[in-house]
Symmetry: none
Subunit: 254 residues, 2 copies
Amino acid sequence: MKQAKPRYQQLKDLIIGRISSGELQPADRVPSENELVEAMNVSRMTANRALRELNDEGYVDRVAGRGTFVSDYRSQSHLLEVHNIADEIALRGHTHSSKVIRQSLQHARGEVAKALHVQQGTDVVHLLLVHAENGIPIQLEDRHVLASFAPHCLQQDFAAVTPSAYLTSISPLQEAEQVVRASVPNRAVQKYLDIKDGEASLVVIRRTWSGGRPVTFARLHHPGGRYELTGHYTPPGTSRSTSSEIVQLEELRQ
Amino acid sequence: MKQAKPRYQQLKDLIIGRISSGELQPADRVPSENELVEAMNVSRMTANRALRELNDEGYVDRVAGRGTFVSDYRSQSHLLEVHNIADEIALRGHTHSSKVIRQSLQHARGEVAKALHVQQGTDVVHLLLVHAENGIPIQLEDRHVLASFAPHCLQQDFAAVTPSAYLTSISPLQEAEQVVRASVPNRAVQKYLDIKDGEASLVVIRRTWSGGRPVTFARLHHPGGRYELTGHYTPPGTSRSTSSEIVQLEELRQ
DNA sequence: TGTACTAGCCTGTATATACAACTTGACGAG
DNA sequence: CTCGTCAAGTTGTATATACAGGCTAGTACA
């Protein structure tokens, strides 16, 4: 027997759905409280709670006197939260596409074996794919998956379902460790991400545990010029609306 | 003329104060909604909002039928999430040293004024210092602090106590937002961090709130070749911690 | 033409009321 | 003594209502 969700949650889900599907684009106007009252047959306080929480969660921006508008996340993602690149892009109202470059069974050696805590030569599936946002390359995913953990990994169509989504569908994520570093990538990475020579890239190296052991090891290369990670720590203070304002920055002067 | 805070916010501040001061210990019972109604002369919905938001922010745990209790989760994650470069280095058993390059009173302009939510021309203290680990430069800290928040900032000896440590000693951190990006730095940054031409740097831009307003804005430049951020994630409700283990990695082959 | 003002919409807050669901402890029947 | 029931207190949600304050467009006026 399934308990019905609260109405304010239903409203939130509805609006998040419209944003994720692309029906509502960043900066688009979201129905006002009074419009929700009429359309959804709820009281204004209920509509207010739904929109206020969406505001607190960063989905929308509200301006007294003007209205509620879809927030533009641009190219941000949350630090320390495990993310799926496709979802991130969908949340921004953009279209995600990915191209599989390699999908093969290999024997773990060196770094990979060490990172996954397995013997050299253990079967692993090696995935290499490029993710694009509105056609622009934004992530090169270089991932190794323990073959014993995901036996059907070779048959999967990762252009349709991202490896991240597939792996979490097999078994819930239990633990993750990530390292972020900056580097100037080599030719191969430059080519896949379409970045210029001498430009920096942001690299996220992530190991994910399931059932007490590491099951996948991924290197995620992003073009430094058009990708950044954002983190928000909300210890105390108000439930102040997270501003979607993005701080433009200049390089250190002279 | 100061605008009075909303009553639900006053309630939140009151309870946060009792927790911060130690009057309320973890697992202690917080006044119920009805008790707040009588004691504070507010409606139950207002008390409900205050307690609900404190719950969302992790200060308290609420159980229907039982009551509201002080959470003990926050005290753990607090220290671990916001890091001080000197503490990080000390954790690795190395020696930290720093050199102050600039420590001057300035008027906030452009990006800094915008990031700190103040008028152009507001007094800010500009700090520029290089942190070194075992004598090797590892961070260039370019920080602006609201002068009204830290009036003695100009007299402080930041070679002895890092700005981060000093600021948290003035007032507990309430909220932080950070952006991580990769870039190839300009000459000035290269010089201070002693990095080669064309090498990447990892830049952390961080804004920190206290008392509901941003009080400091910092750009932390790190040499890409010898610095990385590590994070550790454990999904359900458990605390996150930074892991000191560092995954060695190889460049993407070919 | 341009300026000031106002009507109307929007969000933000506060209150009173109501009912549902959950938890605990007290009380009484067996 | 044990078990079930019930009452009281608590949180969770929903509604109707009210007023304050911000924003905008259009209108009246100079």
